[in-house]
Symmetry: C2
């Protein structure tokens, strides 16, 4: 898949970009493929990259008291970054790892800023992406706030159908803030929140 078609795909999926803006963007991006289990970003690294999944799946996670806690999942057509590193320019507590054989597009913060300065429509695009991310977080907060373990599991299944077939259960459990054992017990019961 060449850079131009990827840019067109993004332009269609989010907000349309002008021809010169598309060209400028295509000139900045890098396309990379990685195997399952490979790490894209390491904790503590200063990471100013954002990734767009062309194919595959990835997750961001961090360690809390030595425990692996998943913080974000992304699949084809979605974005992922070490959020604090990218937006605040500080070393990130997040790791990003590939969950499947994946291909992704990579763009640096500096390029995003340059493109945003130069092209109003790129500023628009990046705003739309941030808004969508914020709305997803909003749903997630509502799910975490006052729900039982079973409700949270059913919520994530509704939000990301088939996630239980693409992501190990231990990662889903930490993402919704419950233990692996509790999730296992929920799954073995006939649905009743």
């Amino acid at each position: 898949m060449d850079k131009v078609s990827i840019v067109n795909q993004i332009s269609e999926a989010y907000t349309s970009l002008s021809k010169p803006c598309k060209e400028a963007l295509a000139a900045k991006i890098a396309v990379v493929s990685v195997g399952k289990g490979e790490v894209l970003v390491r904790q503590g690294q200063y990471t100013d990259k954002i990734f767009y999944l062309i194919a595959g799946a990835a997750r961001a996670y961090y360690l809390k008291d030595g425990k692996d806690i998943s913080d974000w999942f992304a699949f084809e057509g979605e974005f992922i970054s070490a959020i604090n590193g990218f937006f605040l320019g500080i070393p990130s507590p997040h790791y990003i790892e590939s969950l499947e054989e994946s291909t992704y597009l990579q763009l640096s913060r500096a390029d995003v800023d340059t493109l945003s300065d130069k092209y109003h429509d790129f500023e628009r695009l990046s705003k739309v992406i941030v808004i969508q991310t914020m709305l997803k977080q909003q749903q997630r907060i509502a799910s975490l706030q006052f729900h039982s373990a079973a409700e949270k599991y059913h919520n994530i299944l509704a939000a990301i159908p088939n996630i239980d077939q693409r992501v190990p259960l231990m990662h889903i459990a930490s993402y919704i803030g419950i233990t692996l054992e509790t999730l296992s017990r929920i799954r073995s019961q006939p649905r009743r929140n």
Copy 2:
């Protein structure tokens, strides 16, 4: 406080706006004052307004099984809206109420869109505001994900110092996803997570 100084204040606090953009913005905003306890937005209303707190405090909340759950607090210099209503254009499950005698600036979604189309720097401003909101949500998610009631309380105190002196404890409790009684017991103990 006149509209021009408010616009200047926002321009300085977030990202600077050009003179024509400031003027266009000043022409669109409405300034309103409300007393403590007044409701700005009712659940189910189609609400396309965003508010900027010039002075005072407000909260967004919704009802879950008849229980009042706080979802967002805003103080002077911050924004608040019924997030789903504003960004998705759907009737909002949120109420917004004034927690103190407050003055706020009001702007409609349509005006935000018009200004964003016309002024690149307004697009920038709105993006910056959304990014800041997203980063706050990010912190909140991390706090909700795997923390004890006591940790969550100390987290919010760190994020919003003095919140316990401006907002009733019952609202703080629901915001961090614990019951009022548990919060009360935490507060009566010498700090030990």
